[in-house]
Amino acid sequence: MKRRDFLRLAAAVPLAGSLGGVAFAAPAGGSRRLLILVELKGGNDGLNTVIPYADPQYARLRPRIAIDRDRVLKLDDQLGLHPSLEKLMPLWSARELAIVQGVGYPDPNLSHFRSIEIWDTASKSEEYLEDGWLARAFAASPSPAAYAADGVVVGAADMGPLQGGTRAIALTSPEQFLRNARLARDAGVARNPALAHILRVEREIIASAEKLNAGHVFQTDFPQGAFGNAVKTAAQLAANPAGIAVIRVTLGGFDTHANQQGVHANLLRQLGEGLAALREALIEIDRWKTTTIATYSEFGRRPKENQSGGTDHGTANVHLVMGGAVKGGLHGAAPNLERIDGNGNLAHAVDFRGYYATLLERWWGIDSRGPLKGRFATLDVLNA
């Protein structure tokens, strides 16, 4: 069987010397580079997102939930997008959508909770780290003091990769945040860890509220629903005059153990519509060129469907990177459905820390070795 091998990894440029906070150091002139992370909570089914429709194994492994060849949105003669991702096709055509296949890590953990902890802290499988990978990156290369925040978490209960950071805030809508910020007060020293945490959050609120502005009115129509609201908030934050280095939005519900088809189609539709609206909004405020959007998820799902018309927890997965500076096309390595391990899982080709290293180094120009605790090959997905 003819099988593609997209090992562009080999072409990844090794880092020469250490880089300073290049992008962060020069915020003037519209070069403030924004990263928007999109967490697909629950473990997105990568094989039904970017579909190897030409591989006979695909239909064989998934008699009930395979997407019909005719309905797939063809990217080339092997791969196609799920039909619900129709709104992303213009990005693909414009070469602003990079598809990174085979992202994972050695000795994968299939617990939702442990696995997202590994992704959030960029730890090894057996290593337990307290702080998020972005918190460590910002600790080493702080964003400019003029920024409103290092990071903003939109509409989620957890701080994810910003956990442990000093300049990160969470909010649902900027208007509401600003309305309530007057209730925070900066009050001295803590007497116990729980109190120390609360006092730190109060200080973050005060510091960010001074520089946040919720005023921008968009022409763009945002989709209805929670994810539509989240991307609208992300767009408003991107329009904020004082910079923000990273914004995280979340789309939940990907834990599709049973009757996956309808649920997954609906989730991908929300994702595609939300991201397309976000692009339009960023173009409207002239920030598309200075923004990169990247998805992540705790794991992928098993190639073989289960008896309930769903999929169980798996390993290597596909991720999407979008933006005005993105090198569109296929990256990483296509999953090899002939080589499934004893647990029924796919092998990975790209270490998720290499995915992060790409964002840190190629987008922001900051050295990733400290924050990621090692050197990981970057991907050539950005024209930065």
Binding site: V153, D158, F177, R179, R185, P193, A194, L195, I198, N229
Partner: protein, 484 residues
Amino acid sequence: MRAVLALLLLFLSLAGNAQGQAIGYDGARHLLNRTGFGATEAEVRDYAKLSRLQAVDRLLADTPRVAAGKPPAFVDEPPMPFYKYRQLDDEAKKAELRRVVERGLILREWWFREMLTSASPLTERMTLFWHNHFATSQQKVRSPQLMYRQNVLLRREALGNFGTLLHAVARDPAMLIYLDNAGSRRQAPNENFAREVMELFTVGEGHYGEKDIKEAARAFTGWSLDRDSLEFTNRALWHDGGVKTVLGKQGRFDGDDVLDILLARPETGTFIVGKLWKEFVSPTPDPREVERLAAAWREARYEVKPLMRAMLVSDAFWSAEARGAIVKSPVDLVVGTMKTFEIRPATLRPAVLAAALLGQNPMSPPNVKGWPGGEAWINSATLLGRKQLLERLFRGSDAMAMTMVAAEVPAPMEGQNPEARFRRLMERGMRTYAFDWERWSKTLPPANVERLVLAMPAVNPMPEGTEGVELVRHLTADPAYQLK
């Protein structure tokens, strides 16, 4: 005999110092806030004169296994079978979903009322603890009747026996739906329940392998639901009767056998005692104490009451470091505030919505791991939400404040998302939650106000001459009010 001995040892191990002295006002406040949802001045004074043992024994003496309040009438209606739901047209489906959401709210109001008024708040706290441990969400179960039945089960064993509870939860219809076991059959077992029962309900992560999950999943095949009544049914034809190997044991196991294997593992006791420690004592469990309690608990065949007794009389529970060391959950904050300030509203819907908007919507935990709790309750969004809620509650009823509240409530908009709608309903409803300073302050001396309201001294100094409802506003706005 061994079990009796272990129980005895569990009791004797607490006979340390300071057991005979009265716990005092601050001690009583600490105990009641940790084991209930807030406490009134009268309750605190009542417990203040007891010794540790007397106080804890009194808490544990009468812990009902059923709720005192009458449940909503719909719980007796048969739940709608899935195949019937699937046959509905789109309009009827929408109507049914609306009804499920509405009934879910009514059910939560009923539970909140129980937390607020129960003679045994500890029973409700333990019920909530087990709900968070065996987390199951209505979002997926979509049947308020089944969620109610699970709640009844959790309360029945809340302070009963963990082994009994585990076996019953594994057959509980809401759980069978939530973790996809209802459709699991021998041809292709669904692994969801088998994985979570090990990772989250018993031994905890790192004490089993992928192979154990697969084998255990085979043992649970056939545990299913009657398609009409949605009652548990064991489908012999779906069950894999073959030999399985789980955690080194081999046999033709069924689900109960696997649960017994998991209960026999020492890690199970350690895992759950650690969680209870974080719930009741402090965010940083003392590993040696946890081991000691877990060993005795296992010997005592997982009876919950003696374990709780041992934990609540321990020096660690009463230590200075433990005071104010735990972040209040949204339910603590909302129900506890109402209890402490004796706010008794006609409807608890705004309280339910407030807790949900602050991140804790009972019967709808975010996932099977439940709410992470602790510091994770507080980020900039939730902290501001908490402060706004408290400000609203204690703003008083002067005309100026009322106009401000009214101005803040946005008018309903077309196509508004549910969160915005619920927020509006909550904000409107909170206006009916009146705090009566005149009545409340009659029952307690001014010096007791701060001691009753805060688990530790206020962080922000009180401006000179602050008194009356202004004092309450100040104390509840203080960061220390977020702690218990």
